[in-house]
């Protein structure tokens, strides 16, 4: 699943470490999410979307082929 975490993070001027601390995960998890190597759970996806004050669909891009 694609996401816009890196772009949103840079817009907000926040480091990976700061974002990780804010949503309660390690920096490695944020890195893996940004590189598309890991898919966030629903809880984590909501926490990240809430952090950026965006709807979840604007942060995580769900495509039909992701099924």
């Amino acid at each position: 699943m694609d996401n816009r975490i890196r772009a949103l993070r840079k817009e907000a001027g926040v480091t990976q470490d700061e974002l990780a601390g804010a949503v309660g995960v390690t920096r490695q998890t944020i890195l893996s999410l940004e590189n598309g190597k890991y898919n966030a759970s629903l809880q984590l996806a909501f926490r990240i979307a809430r952090y950026f004050d965006k709807p979840i669909e604007e942060v995580f891009l769900y495509r039909e082929e992701d099924i």
Binding site: A20, G21, G24, V25, T26, Q28, T29, S32, Y38, A40, S41, L44
Partner: protein, 138 residues
């Protein structure tokens, strides 16, 4: 249970290990013909307890470190990796055991083969029981 309480419990266990290890070392001096098993095991236990105390005690006084440790331990990606590694280890270990049982049987070492086969069987039964319990729960 809060994470701080979990750490306190771990510190308690670590102190327990260290004390038990020390007792085993002391006891080994009073047992005649002791073949260094008790003292060696006691030393390992005591060292393990002391290392864990050193690892966990600072977390109880430093809130930031405690928070970072909690995140590291509960991070969902880390938990997923640990669970997948455990699952793969079980598969690989079971497969290797089955191959070893076959090889031991061919070599005529039937008693060892039977013991290993029994261990694999018990492991499989435990897995099936736990799978059943977890399926009902979730």
């Amino acid at each position: 249970m809060t994470f701080k309480k979990k750490i306190k419990l771990r510190v308690g266990l670590a102190v327990g290990y260290a004390v038990l290890g020390a007792l085993m070392i002391v006891l080994s001096f009073f047992i005649a013909d002791e073949d260094a098993y008790l003292s060696s095991f006691g030393l390992i236990l005591a060292v393990m307890g002391l290392v864990r105390c050193k690892q966990y005690l600072p977390l109880l006084t430093d809130q930031e470190r405690l928070r970072r440790r909690e995140i590291a331990e509960t991070d969902e990606r880390s938990v997923m990796i640990v669970n997948r590694a455990r699952s793969l280890t079980l598969t690989v270990f079971t497969t290797l055991c089955c191959l070893t049982v076959t090889a031991l049987s061919v070599l005529g070492l039937r008693e060892i083969a039977l013991t290993l086969a029994a261990a694999v069987f018990v492991l499989t039964v435990i897995y099936l029981i736990l799978y059943g319990i977890l399926s009902k729960r979730y």
